[in-house]
Amino acid sequence: MKFKKPPIVEAWIEFKVGLTDESVGWDESTAKELINKHFADFKQQEFFGLTEVKIDPKTANVLETRRSFERVRAFTEDRDQCVQGGRNLLVYNQIRQGEKEWPGYERLRDSAFDALQKYLDFRTLNTLVGVSLHYLDIVAIPKGKDGKIKLEDYFTVYPHLPDGAFGAISGFRVAMQLPQACKGGNMTLSIQSLPAFGPSEDKGRFSIDWHVTSDGKTHDVDSARQWLEQAHKDLRGVFVAGFTEQGFAIFEPEGR
């Protein structure tokens, strides 16, 4: 199913890497070297550190402070792709920019596995611990004449409260774990309303996160690839089941 106006704003594939054969440490200079050597087009680099502070709950004295380098994020010039590298982590993000056509899952997958191979070779690592696939959608629904939106007209999954005492819902955030929705993985679906962007906003906006994580049996690139195909298929099935016809109409499906 293809849409003229897909709701997707970002998708990423995240690989958790095993460290049993780690021989080179991970710090900012290593991360810089990884990006400069293998991801030359990703020139906008950001570095994230992590500070852990252990505090005595009785005296509030700091017992221990530990600083470590967490990850590098490197973006392409127009910020439509991002590669993130951590000590045991490789993430590949595809980000929607303006009205550019969404490049699709296939490009994300191929770019992610290409990046993974470069990362594994650079870090001389071989084992994977897990894979996850994440889609972030923003759905904008026009308000009715009364300024309200009937969620059930657009979504098949939505919070429902009985009429009467509760009144209307003005904001919500729900997250569901769906262990049966994906073979060999765990799916989390979160739906959240977003605040109005300005006083004259005529639409209600909803952020929908689709997140699937492998169950830990993907220890090499081939099994990760197989798992990802299945996860994408299952996620697609859940996505299709998540909207009503009226909901789909917002995305302007082609050939339906």
């Binding site: 704003v9 970002e10 991002c82 300024g147 209307a168 003005s170 977003l194 605040p195």
Partner: protein, 234 residues
């Protein structure tokens, strides 16, 4: 029925998870890999530095052909721009503008909406830290002295305090002053000790401290008010 017209801050959900396990909330959550969401601990606008009481999650979303930046911790603020960075700058400016406007008001000067906004802002921005770290800017009069060297050496403020001039850290114009020149200066002072941090700018002025006899004459020439004789009941 969903009614988006009424704004509701659902921040409490995020706050609870932050308290439960801040490390997971900040770094371990699967959403941290999103490039459209990040925890922000502080930001700077010009010379103003804002530190937050806890991490504020900033999110971006494309809307039509622009980017909108928002945070659920301060849900009434958004920033729009052509790029993510522009949108973030706009969000910062929106927060900065309201904070600066409201910070200069006393509580009784605020209407209900402003009071509520101020409470919301100060539940996220560390006001105590802001007050203790933001220099106080004052306009002051002082007289330049050369003492025993051939260039401006110190300023005697009208309060009587003396400031030793470091030629490398003062406006260049100050070094052109003659002995005894009076100046009006914009001075940045430490909010706690009130010591000078920096002289931002100076303006030469014509001024002198009047002599005691002149003050006396001036006082005597002031018109006298005739008060009604009445009984004072305290």
């Amino acid at each position: 029925m969903f009614c988006p017209a009424v704004q509701q801050n659902i921040d409490s959900v995020a706050t609870c998870s932050a308290i439960a396990d801040q490390r997971t909330y900040l770094w371990g959550a699967e959403k941290f890999s999103s490039t459209l969401m990040r925890p922000v601990l502080d930001f700077t606008v010009g010379r103003a530095y804002y530190r937050f009481i806890g991490p504020m999650t900033v999110s971006w979303t494309p809307v039509d052909e622009a980017w909108v930046c928002y945070t659920l911790e301060l849900s009434s603020y958004t920033g729009t721009g052509k790029t993510e960075q522009e949108a973030y700058e706009e969000l910062k400016l929106a927060i900065h503008t309201d904070f600066q406007r409201l910070e200069r008001k006393r509580p009784f000067e605020m209407d209900e909406g402003e009071h509520s906004k101020w409470l919301q802002l100060t539940s996220v921005i560390d006001l105590l830290h802001y007050n203790m770290t933001t220099p106080v800017e004052t306009r002051e009069l002082g007289e330049v002295s050369f003492e025993k060297i051939s260039r401006p050496c110190s300023i005697r403020w009208i309060s009587g305090q003396k400031y030793i001039i470091d030629p490398y850290r003062v406006p260049a114009e100050l070094m052109s002053c003659r002995p005894g020149q009076w100046i009006e200066a914009i001075v940045k002072r430490d909010p706690i000790t009130h010591r000078e941090i920096e002289i931002e700018s100076i303006r030469k002025i014509s001024f002198r401290i009047p002599q005691e006899s002149e003050v006396k004459t001036f006082w005597e020439t002031l018109p006298k008010a005739e008060l009604e004789s009445t009984e004072w009941a305290w």
